[in-house]
Structures are given as structure tokens and as C-alpha cells.
């Protein structure tokens, strides 16, 4: 194909991924997507991992600048620390896209998996399954940006449907998270045996709640709605009689691909738009069973909207092979 500059000579293009979070399946899959798209483009990718150290992440942007990269993908982080760093990169003539962190800059496209949409899809399904009034338990840890955004939707739903009674709120990020959440969920369910719906908008939370529900023998009574998905989640949802009935997710690998594509468009002088949104997919237990989906690959094959997002794909853009 005819490649626009600078991709006519992609080996000379250097891009950097500067990460805030890296531990866990989501982030690993995201990285895989970034790598895949970078390979498809043939560009040189460097990965900087700050391991949840926001100050270090800002330094790493500076490092990338010093290294003379052409473009930077910023993956998560704090607005306050990344805003100035991103501006420094722009000042150095480097193109920047940001994933899931608002750097408050018009020149920087925001790639998002819409957390609000994720929560909305899951909750709509909950209402569809359980009606507009039910007793709910909610798993939440404030202070974590995506969880906070999902929480906004939850708050709106509670206003909209006064029949939803929130009987228990708990949550922890003590690792192993699923294990710690299971302990909490067991206590919460013992104290509030009337709960029928658990909203756990993060798959580690949902996993923990499921363990507790199973251990308490409340599998038939409680339904779990969550966000995010992984191969392990799929098998947990498909266990016979599993309480985990639905999750809403974007494919992190797809988000990774989209991030790189948006950056490539900038480098080629095109505009991907300020908000590059990767739409989420609702994944229900029923769909998984009906189509016999066992892992993420099959999920992509059988739910095509999950394996590819038609976002930031100009005609010249080479896509990773499937």
C-alpha cells in the first residue's frame, strides 16, 4: 500500500509507550495490542513501565523525549503529573495520545474505553434480568480513576431507579484481590442475606464475590454483574450454575491497537479526533454458553465487535493479522 510519510520508512519511526499500570491481565493484553499494531506498522516501540509511580511516569516521558521518539502513548496516570509532561513532549515536537488519563490538552487525543458505558451496559442488563427494584451489594474502592467513573454511573442508576436498595458497600485492593474481596463479600452476604444482585464493576472484584457466593451456597440467589473480561473470567462465568451472569468489556488488546493507530494518524498528519472511544461489548453467560466460547480468542472470533474496533482506521493503515 501507499504509506504516508513517515511510514514510508517505518523503521526510522520510534514510538514510546509510557505506562502507569502494568501488573495484571488487562494491562498485559493492552500491551500486546500495542505491540501488535506497532509491528503491523513496522515502527520501533519502546516500553517504559513506572509501576504505579506517577512521578516516575512523568520522568519517563522526559526520558522518551530525550531518546528522541516521534510519538508517545501515555497509558493511565494522574492528570496532575502527566499534564505538564505531556505538554513538554508536545513542545519538543512529539505527537502524543493518552489512554485513560485526561491530560487536559486539546492537541492530545484521548483514547478511552468508556467506563461509564461499561457500567451502563452491565447495569442495564441487571435491570433487564431483575426488574427495577432489587437488593444490591456494591464493590467499590474510591480513589481509582476508572472505578470512580464507573461509580458515577452507579450513582445515577440508583437515582433513576429508587427501587434499587444498596445494602452493602465493600471493596479492597489488598492482593491477591480476589481472595481479599471474597473474605469481605462473605461477611457482607452473611450480614445481608437478602441481597440478590452484586454489582462488582471490576473483574477481580467479581471473581472474589463469586467465590464467596459459592462458598455460602447462595449461587442460585445472587447474580453478579461486572466489567472487564479475561480467559479466566470466561471459565468462571461458564461454570455450571455460575452466579456471574454478565460483564461488560472492551477488549484491552483492541484498545492498545487503537491507541497506536491514533498516534500513527497524528504522525501522518491526520486527525483521529479528540475523543477516540472504543465501544464496549456486553458479554452474558448465556451468550458464552450458547456459542461455546472458552477464551478471549474465541470471544473475538464469535463476537466480532469484540475483536476489532472500527476506530482510527484510515485506508492506508495496516492492521495486525488475525
Amino acid at each position: 500500500a501507499d504509506m504516508p510519510k513517515p511510514f514510508d520508512n517505518p523503521g526510522d519511526v520510534k514510538i514510546a509507550l509510557v505506562r502507569y499500570l502494568s501488573t495484571g491481565d488487562f494491562f498485559q493484553a493492552y500491551l500486546a495490542g500495542v505491540e501488535r499494531q506497532a509491528k503491523a506498522l513496522g515502527v520501533d516501540l519502546r516500553v517504559f513501565d513506572s509501576r504505579q509511580d506517577a512521578a516516575l511516569q512523568a520522568d519517563m516521558v522526559d526520558q522518551a523525549i530525550a531518546l528522541g521518539v516521534d510519538g508517545i502513548v501515555i497509558q493511565h496516570g494522574l492528570t496532575e503529573s502527566m499534564k505538564a509532561a505531556a505538554q513538554r513532549a508536545l513542545d519538543a515536537g512529539i505527537k502524543v495520545v493518552a489512554f485513560d488519563v485526561n491530560v487536559e490538552n486539546d492537541k492530545i487525543p484521548q483514547v478511552e474505553q468508556s467506563d461509564r458505558d461499561l457500567a451502563r451496559l452491565a447495569l442495564e442488563q441487571a435491570i433487564k434480568d431483575n426488574g427495577e427494584s432489587f437488593n444490591a451489594g456494591y464493590v467499590y474502592v474510591p480513589g481509582i480513576a476508572p472505578l470512580d467513573r464507573r461509580d458515577e454511573t452507579w450513582v445515577k442508576f440508583k437515582e433513576k431507579y429508587p427501587g434499587i436498595k444498596e445494602l452493602a458497600v465493600f471493596g479492597t485492593l489488598d492482593n491477591p484481590i480476589a481472595n481479599s474481596v471474597a473474605n469481605q463479600a462473605a461477611a457482607a452476604l452473611r450480614a445481608n442475606p437478602q441481597i440478590t444482585v452484586m454489582f462488582a464493576p471490576y473483574d477481580e472484584f467479581a471473581k472474589g464475590v463469586k467465590i464467596a457466593v459459592d462458598e455460602l451456597g447462595m449461587t442460585d440467589q445472587v447474580d453478579i454483574y461486572s466489567a472487564d473480561v479475561s480467559t479466566a473470567d470466561i471459565s468462571a462465568m461458564r461454570e455450571p450454575g455460575s452466579a456471574w451472569v454478565a460483564t461488560a468489556a472492551t477488549n484491552p488488546a483492541v484498545v492498545g491497537e487503537v491507541s497506536v493507530r491514533a498516534l500513527a494518524m497524528l504522525l501522518a498528519g491526520e486527525d483521529p479526533g479528540h475523543n477516540v472511544i472504543v465501544p464496549p461489548t456486553l458479554i452474558t453467560q448465556k451468550a458464552l454458553n450458547d456459542q461455546d466460547i472458552k477464551n478471549m480468542e474465541e470471544l473475538g472470533e464469535k463476537l466480532p465487535q469484540f475483536s476489532h474496533a472500527d476506530v482510527a482506521v484510515p485506508a492506508w493503515m495496516p492492521l495486525p493479522k488475525r
Binding site: T23, G24, D25, N179, A187, A188, R190, I211, S235
Partner: protein, 364 residues
């Protein structure tokens, strides 16, 4: 500060109170002294625990039931097992910071053996236990032969393990159907027998009450308690913790004992990891830092139980239970998680002030 603030203890009695964890200079048993204080030291912590239970029974709905009790035990089982292991290293005057990482490595290893290699329950369990023993052995050798300070050697080991457990899967968790780095798909799965280790419930009074993990905790707790209190090996381990040189000069093979203590610690941590894997049913990447802190807290709280003022298995178990009751009760009362750490810390500190300052007073 009072004018006598800096008056050191009189020269008459004993050697310098060692600042070492294993050698806290507070009293064990003594015939003299104020009986009330004596009782307070000995039973203060247990009374506090009982008080906590009563408080929650009165104020947290659903706290009062066999099930609730079982859940508390279950929630602390893994922490307690790790804590019991680290107690062994505390007894010989050492410390093991790697237990959290050993547990998560064992979690990953069991998943790897079954899911990726497609082997069975026995292989997975044996592999994990050997892993734990090996790590403990290496820890012990580092501490004993190269004389790297215990905290430092086990900290290094912790980093190594946290890194190591991520390499085979490039940082992904392990689950059936996952794609491996070489592109193939993992076809094995957790065996039913393995999952039962973490999930099976034995009948007790009613059907399906007692979880296997709780049984493991109880059995391992009783074993290590008996070992430390009622075998001469245990006694020699205490002697080593109290005065390594004296124990060596009395003919104890100090190095072997110390290595053995680290191996016990590694073994227990790997059992904890197995239980964790069986409960989660997948190989989750996790640092295990919280496991480390919680089990160390349990082992240290154990110092205060029965006025032992030294690492001891019974106290460790009570310490773990104490934290479990507290967290379970607070969650049941819908207390937000961010206050739970605070309450946990505050109750811990107050309980400790109580016990240690009392036993200190008696000692004078």
C-alpha cells in the same frame, strides 16, 4: 518527660535487653508480682478478643452463627498458615520477608503445572511443596553461610520470586484456554481434586460446614505448636533464638536448625499458596505483599498472647483470628474499607500497649 526518663535499668540484673524481635525482654512466668497484673498480661489479649466477639454479636447482624465462625476461620486460614511458618523463623531469631512471594509463586506454580503442563493434583502439590522447601533452603543457606542479614536475604528472595513467577507467562494470569507466549493454547485445567483442597467442606454438626482450608490451618497449627513446645527440637530452636552462641557451644547444630526453620517457613507459605490457588481456581499474578504484612502482623501479635512475649504458635493463631474477627465484624457492620485499616491498626496498637507496658511494669 520525667526527670528519670533516661535512667537505664539497674546493672544488677541480666544482660542488655536485646532489641531483637525474638528476644523481647519481658517476663514469662513468675511466682511473684501483683496477681491482677499477672492475669491481665496473661489473659488480657484473649479477653479483648472475647470482648470483640461479644461486641460484634450484639451489633453486627448475622455475626452470631456457626457459619459466621467458620467464615472467620476461613478468611484467616491462609494468613494464619503463613504466619505459623514465619513463627518458626522468628523462634530462631530470624525473619522471613519472602513468605508472601513464596505463596504467590506457589499459586502460580500449581496453576502452571496443571493448566500449562496438564499434569495432575499430586504433581502440582508436590511441585509447590518442593518449591517452598527449596526457597526456604536457599534463604537458610544465605542467612547461615553467607551471613547476609535475614531481612536482607529474604527481601532479595522476595524480589526474585515476584519477578520469577511472572516470567513463564509474561505477566499474565494462568487460566484454562489462555494463550501461551509461544502462541499455543493451554489446554489443562485445575483438577477437581485440587480445587477440593480449597473448597471442600467437611460435615461438622451440620452438613458441609468445615472448609478443608480451615482443617489444614488447624492441623498445621497444632503440628507446629506441638513441635515448638513439646519436642526437644522446638526447645533448641528457642535456645538458638535466645542465644545462638550458647546453643552452638552446647552442641546444637545451629546452622542446620536455622536452615530447617526457613524451610518450615517456605513449606508453610507454599501450602498457603496451594490453598489460595485452590480457592481462586486460577493462577493470579499478585505480589503477595498484603499476605506478608498480615501474616507478620499475626505472628507479632502472637507475642502478646498469654504474656508469652516471644514468638509462639498458639499466639500466632490467636493473632490471625483476632485480625479476622475484626475485619469480618467491621465488614458486617458495613464500615467502609478505608476505616478498617485504621481500626485494625488502632486496636492492634492499643492491645500491644496494654500487654507490653503491663508486662514491662511487672518485670521491674
Amino acid at each position: 518527660m520525667s526527670d528519670r526518663a533516661d535512667r537505664p535499668a539497674p546493672t544488677t540484673n541480666g544482660p542488655a535487653p536485646s532489641a531483637r524481635v525474638g528476644g523481647v525482654p519481658v517476663g514469662g512466668v513468675s511466682g511473684r508480682g501483683d496477681a491482677a497484673i499477672h492475669l491481665a498480661i496473661r489473659y488480657g489479649f484473649l479477653v479483648l478478643l472475647a470482648g470483640l466477639v461479644i461486641f460484634f454479636m450484639a451489633s453486627a447482624e448475622g455475626f452470631t452463627s456457626v457459619f459466621s465462625a467458620v467464615f472467620i476461620f476461613q478468611s484467616v486460614a491462609i494468613t494464619a498458615i503463613l504466619a505459623l511458618g514465619v513463627t518458626a523463623t522468628l523462634v530462631v531469631g530470624g525473619f522471613d520477608l519472602s513468605i508472601g512471594a513464596v505463596a504467590t509463586s506457589s499459586l502460580m506454580a500449581s496453576a502452571y503445572v496443571m493448566v500449562v503442563w496438564g499434569l495432575g493434583t499430586v504433581e502440582a502439590v508436590v511441585f509447590c511443596l518442593l518449591l517452598g522447601l527449596l526457597v526456604g533452603f536457599i534463604n537458610g543457606v544465605l542467612v547461615v553461610y553467607t551471613r547476609i542479614p535475614d531481612l536482607l536475604a529474604t527481601l532479595g528472595m522476595m524480589f526474585v520470586l515476584i519477578g520469577l513467577q511472572r516470567i513463564p507467562t509474561e505477566g499474565r494470569s494462568i487460566a484454562t484456554g489462555m494463550t501461551l507466549p509461544d502462541g499455543s493454547t493451554a489446554e489443562g485445567s485445575f483438577t477437581a481434586a485440587f480445587l477440593a483442597i480449597g473448597r471442600h467442606r467437611f460435615d461438622l454438626i451440620e452438613a458441609n460446614v468445615l472448609p478443608a482450608s480451615v482443617l489444614f490451618m488447624l492441623v498445621m497449627g497444632i503440628l507446629i505448636w506441638f513441635f515448638l513446645e513439646y519436642t526437644r527440637y522446638g526447645r533448641v530452636m528457642y535456645a538458638i533464638g535466645s542465644n545462638e552462641r550458647a546453643a552452638a557451644l552446647a552442641g546444637a547444630p545451629v546452622r542446620r536448625y536455622k536452615i530447617a526453620a526457613y524451610m518450615i517457613s517456605g513449606l508453610f507459605a507454599s501450602v498457603g499458596g496451594i490453598l489460595l490457588a485452590a480457592r481462586l481456581g486460577r493462577g493470579d499474578i499478585a505480589s503477595g505483599n498484603n499476605l506478608l504484612l498480615d501474616s507478620v502482623a499475626a505472628a507479632l501479635i502472637g507475642f502478646a498472647v498469654l504474656g508469652a512475649a516471644k514468638p509462639n504458635a498458639f499466639g500466632t493463631a490467636i493473632g490471625a483470628l483476632f485480625v479476622g474477627v475484626l475485619l469480618q465484624g467491621l465488614t458486617m457492620m458495613n464500615v467502609p474499607y478505608y476505616t478498617q485499616d485504621f481500626v485494625k491498626g488502632a486496636v492492634l496498637v492499643i492491645a500491644l500497649i496494654f500487654t507490653f507496658s503491663l508486662s514491662h511494669r511487672r518485670e521491674r
